[in-house]
Structure formats: structure tokens, C-alpha cells
């Protein structure tokens, strides 16, 4: 069970006899705003500006060109598949890591975060070596769409697992045991008691996985073959636009991808609020 959240609302400042807004209230927010602006917002603004530079018609021409549309469809499709795979298998993995005991669990738990540390090109390299031509396990997935999904699963593996683990840990098993002692089956216990508590974590993790998958290039570029219209993902298309000197077109597609990710993150934040509403006052 999560520790008792703010079940009583915050005590109004005036009732506490303190001024409404102290410098220490504003300073942190100011710092956050400045930092975020300098580091994140400015580059994105520059991108948006660049995408508009040659006019709206040019923007739409690049974004709606058949190659861009094909790449976008492939990227989004693969990202959704990867998010779903991660939602299911990531939850299972988190479950096993929290509730199960086996030798080497500590090490396995530690390497979950490895995709963050490994340069993505190395990830791509090894995936090609393992699952491409010359594979030691006899699987040649390389240069297919399956390879794209596989590479994306590698880089997004930690997101759902790490989002679900802390929730599982905090989860009080008393309710599950009570339900079971009342005769509920495993599946019902999971569906009715455990799953609703995990859902916000799964959603957050899946949303992050999706957002990351949409932008990934390093792990995918070596194993997908990058055939335009067939196995070319949006980030590779953006790169080829940059390389042919069309920075505005590249920025246009990048902005579209950004909007998709941004909308997704906002939506998941909203769903999360809805789902956890019963926990807040």
C-alpha cells in the first residue's frame, strides 16, 4: 500500500501565518524553468522555427511525401508493438524480479538498466551478430521489420520493468492473501487487486517506451537495412534529409514525431491522473 498520501488537503498558507509566496517558493520553479528552457525548450524551438522556414506548403510537402508517410507508419507501428510487448513482458519480468527468488537474481536485476549504458550502435552491432546472417542460433532476422522490433525492445526494456518494480514492492500482499483466503482464484486476484495498482506504472513505462521507440536510431540503423518505403524508420529518413541539405524538411518530420511523442506523454499523464484519482483526496 502506498504510504498515506495527502488525505487531508494542504493547510492554507494564511492559516499558518506565513506570507503567501516566499522567495523559496519561486526560486526553485524559476530555476527549473530556466534550466529547462536553456537545455530543452530552446533546441526544440529552433527545430520548430527551422521547419517553418520554407513555408507551410513546403512543410506539408515533405511531411506528406510518400517516403515520409511510409517511414512514419512503420515507426509508429513498430513503436506500438514494442510498447505492448514491453507492457506484458516487462510486467512479467518485474513480477519475477520482485516476487520470485532464484540464483543470480541480483545480477539480472542489475543488468536490466544496461540498455541505457550501452552505446546504441554497440547494441545494434551485437543484435546483428546474434540474429542476422551468420547467427550462432540460426536466426536471420536482419533487414526485416522484425529486426526493428527486436532492436527497439532492447533499448526500451528497462522502462516498464523499472516503473512497475517499485509499485510491486510497495504493494501490501495482505489484500491479495485476504482475497485468496476468501476463495478468489489467482487470475481474479491479479485482475481485481494487483493489476489496478500496477496500471499507472505500466502506463507510464509503456508511454516512455513508445516515446523512446519513436525516436530511436542507433540500434535500428544497423539491423534494419533502411530500405526506403520498406524498412526505413522516421529517424533514418530525417537523417537522410539532413544529409541531402534539406534541414527544413528534416526539422519538419522531426517536429511531427515530437508532436506525436508529446501528445502521447500528455495523454498518459492525463490517464494516470484519472486512474489514481481514487487514491487522492
Amino acid at each position: 500500500m502506498p504510504a498515506a498520501s495527502a488525505t487531508a488537503g494542504p493547510i492554507p498558507a494564511r492559516a499558518r501565518g506565513r506570507p503567501r509566496v516566499a522567495p523559496t517558493d519561486v526560486l526553485p520553479l524559476g530555476f527549473v524553468a530556466c534550466f529547462l528552457t536553456a537545455v530543452v525548450v530552446l533546441p526544440i524551438a529552433a527545430l520548430v522555427w527551422e521547419s517553418r522556414r520554407q513555408g507551410a506548403r513546403s512543410f506539408w510537402r515533405v511531411v506528406s511525401s510518400p517516403e515520409a508517410v511510409a517511414a512514419l507508419r512503420l515507426t509508429l507501428g513498430a513503436a506500438v508493438v514494442v510498447a505492448l510487448v514491453n507492457a506484458v513482458l516487462g510486467t512479467v519480468t518485474a513480477w519475477v524480479l520482485v516476487r520470485d527468488e532464484f540464483r543470480g537474481k541480483t545480477l539480472v536485476n542489475a543488468v536490466i538498466d544496461l540498455p541505457f549504458a550501452l552505446p546504441t550502435i554497440v547494441a545494434g552491432l551485437t543484435l546483428v551478430a546474434l540474429y542476422g546472417p551468420g547467427s550462432p542460433v540460426g536466426v536471420d532476422l536482419a533487414f526485416t521489420r522484425g529486426a526493428i522490433v527486436l532492436a527497439l525492445c532492447f533499448v526500451t526494456l528497462p522502462f516498464v520493468v523499472r516503473a512497475v518494480q517499485p509499485v510491486l514492492q510497495e504493494l501490501d500482499t495482505e489484500m491479495e492473501e485476504a482475497a485468496r483466503s476468501l476463495g478468489a482464484g489467482q487470475a481474479a486476484v491479479f485482475r481485481r487487486i494487483v493489476f489496478p495498482n500496477l496500471l499507472p506504472g505500466i502506463l507510464s513505462g509503456a508511454a516512455l517506451a513508445l516515446a523512446r521507440a519513436v525516436g530511436e536510431i542507433g540500434a535500428v540503423v544497423l539491423i534494419s537495412g533502411n530500405l526506403p518505403y520498406r524498412t526505413e524508420v522516421s529517424s533514418v529518413f530525417v537523417m537522410s534529409r539532413i544529409e541531402s541539405g534539406d534541414a527544413a524538411g528534416a526539422a519538419a518530420v522531426a517536429v511531427v514525431l515530437l508532436c506525436v511523442s508529446f501528445a502521447l506523454l500528455l495523454a498518459i499523464g492525463g490517464i494516470r491522473l484519472l486512474v489514481t484519482r481514487h487514491e487522492r483526496a
Binding site: 520482485v98 539480472v108 541505457f116 550502435i121 552491432l125 526494456l157 516503473a163 517499485p166 514492492q169 526539422a251
Partner: protein, 263 residues
């Protein structure tokens, strides 16, 4: 589902997607024995590359840690218009492809960029020098500390902090004595992830660093450089060191944590 079945599924998935590739990296690194690996790792370019990577991480990680904690607090504890937007912005760097990050930094700090001309006129080099590497690395690792701190803060609630305030503690004292200790492990974990991400960043840094051998070539760029020159052993050795460093920190953190919080 029976316990063993779940375990098999989880471990099978992990093996397929994570453990087998890791084993492959190890195998390929030592394919020709220990000596070539040592030769690659002790070459001056490689040593420089590790130095630069560590220095960049030494700047980027503290910056993002401070930001992550402050932003986490702001997002969870305060209500202000645009809170959801701020939250989404913090996560956005995860979604941006590094090629795009590089392009954006060119647009800002390039010779004909928004600030580039002005800065270069004053002799301030951002691109193709360490500031750009730091900027790119900070950008891609912004979310991690905040990501960890936010759910923990949510779980914990602010009762203790409110109690402290009514007892007369200042904001800073409340933060230092109550908030920070309670999110300590979330922060540490976030720092570990941020560090791992900083070590592994390649795409954006490749574009903005100028790849100057011995000066702005990070470890990941060295991996790429070795790979381009068909020096597989060199590439894999550096990659393995990066991965091993991340794993070592992760394992150390796991072991150091109190037992009830294994993750």
C-alpha cells in the same frame, strides 16, 4: 500463472533481448585474446576518450541531479498552470532522436545559428568543443532523476513536510532534513541511470563534438571510430568497458541498499 512458468517467460525474454547480446559483446571483445584488448584500451586516443567521457559526465550528472530533484518537487508538490506540460517537457528528451538533437544544436550555435555568430564573435566556442558535448549529454539525460524522484514523492505524500513547516522549519531545512532523506534512494538510482546514459550517448555527440581525436572524441565516438576502421576488437573493448562500468555501479548500488528495496 505458476511461478516457474512466469520465471521462464521473464528469463527467456531477458536472455533473448538483453543477456545474449551482452554475452556476445564479451565474446567478441576477447575473440583474439587479452593482449589486443589491452593494446586498444591503453592507446593514447582511447585513454583521452575515456577522460573526456568522464569529465563530461562529471558536469552533466550533478546538473541533472539538482534539476531532477527540484523539478520533481515542483511537479509533485505544487499546483501551477502548465504542470502537466512541464512534466511532459521533462520526458521529451527521451523521444528525440539524437540526429535531431544535433541538428537543433547546429541551428542554435552553428556559424549561422541563433546564437552562433554572436558567440563566435566573442571567441566563445560552443560547437565542436566541450560545451556542446555537455549540452548534448545534459539534454539526453534530463529525464532520469526526475523520473525516479516523481513517483517516490507521490508515494510518500507530504505530511511530514507539512508537519515540519508548522513547527517552524524553513523551506531549506525541511528539504534537507525530511524530503531529501526520504527520496535518497530514488535520487541515487536516478544518478546511476543518468551516469549510464551519459556514458552511452553517441548520436548527438557525434554531430556536435567535431570528433577531434584526443580532444573531443568521447568513448562512444572511439567505439565508432574503431568500428569504421574495421578494428572490431578496439570497438568492442571500449564498449565493454562502458557497459561494465555501468553494471558495476548498478550492482554496487543494489548491494548497498537496505534489503527491503531490492530494485
Amino acid at each position: 500463472m505458476p511461478r516457474a512458468g512466469l520465471r521462464i517467460v521473464a528469463l527467456g525474454y531477458l536472455t533473448l533481448v538483453l543477456l545474449a547480446p551482452l554475452a556476445m559483446v564479451v565474446r567478441r571483445t576477447f575473440a583474439h585474446g587479452l593482449a589486443p584488448v589491452w593494446g586498444s584500451l591503453s592507446g593514447p586516443e582511447t585513454v583521452h576518450a575515456f577522460e573526456i567521457t568522464m569529465l563530461v559526465a562529471a558536469i552533466a550528472v550533478p546538473l541533472n541531479t539538482v534539476f531532477g530533484v527540484v523539478a520533481g518537487l515542483a511537479i509533485v508538490r505544487r499546483r501551477f498552470p502548465g504542470r502537466g506540460l512541464l512534466n511532459a517537457f521533462v520526458d521529451l528528451p527521451l523521444a528525440l532522436s539524437p540526429v535531431v538533437v544535433g541538428l537543433a544544436l547546429y541551428l542554435l550555435y552553428g556559424r549561422t545559428g541563433w546564437f552562433g555568430g554572436w558567440l563566435l564573435g566573442r571567441g566563445i566556442h560552443v560547437l565542436f568543443a566541450w560545451p556542446a558535448i555537455v549540452l548534448a549529454t545534459v539534454f539526453v539525460s534530463v529525464p532520469f532523476v526526475a523520473r525516479e524522484v516523481i513517483p517516490t514523492l507521490r508515494e510518500l505524500g507530504d505530511e511530514q513536510e507539512q508537519a515540519a513547516r508548522t513547527l517552524g522549519a524553513s523551506a531549506w531545512q525541511t528539504f534537507r532534513r525530511i524530503t531529501l532523506p526520504s527520496i535518497r534512494w530514488a535520487v541515487v538510482y536516478g544518478v546511476v541511470l543518468t551516469t549510464a546514459r551519459c556514458l552511452g550517448e553517441y548520436g548527438a555527440v557525434a554531430i556536435v563534438s567535431g570528433r577531434i581525436v584526443g580532444k573531443t572524441e568521447t568513448a562512444t565516438l572511439r567505439v565508432d571510430g574503431a568500428y569504421q576502421n574495421l578494428d572490431a576488437t578496439g570497438a568492442y573493448s571500449v564498449a565493454l568497458v562502458l557497459a561494465a562500468a555501468a553494471v558495476a555501479v548498478l550492482v554496487a548500488m543494489t548491494l548497498a541498499r537496505p534489503n527491503e528495496q531490492v530494485a
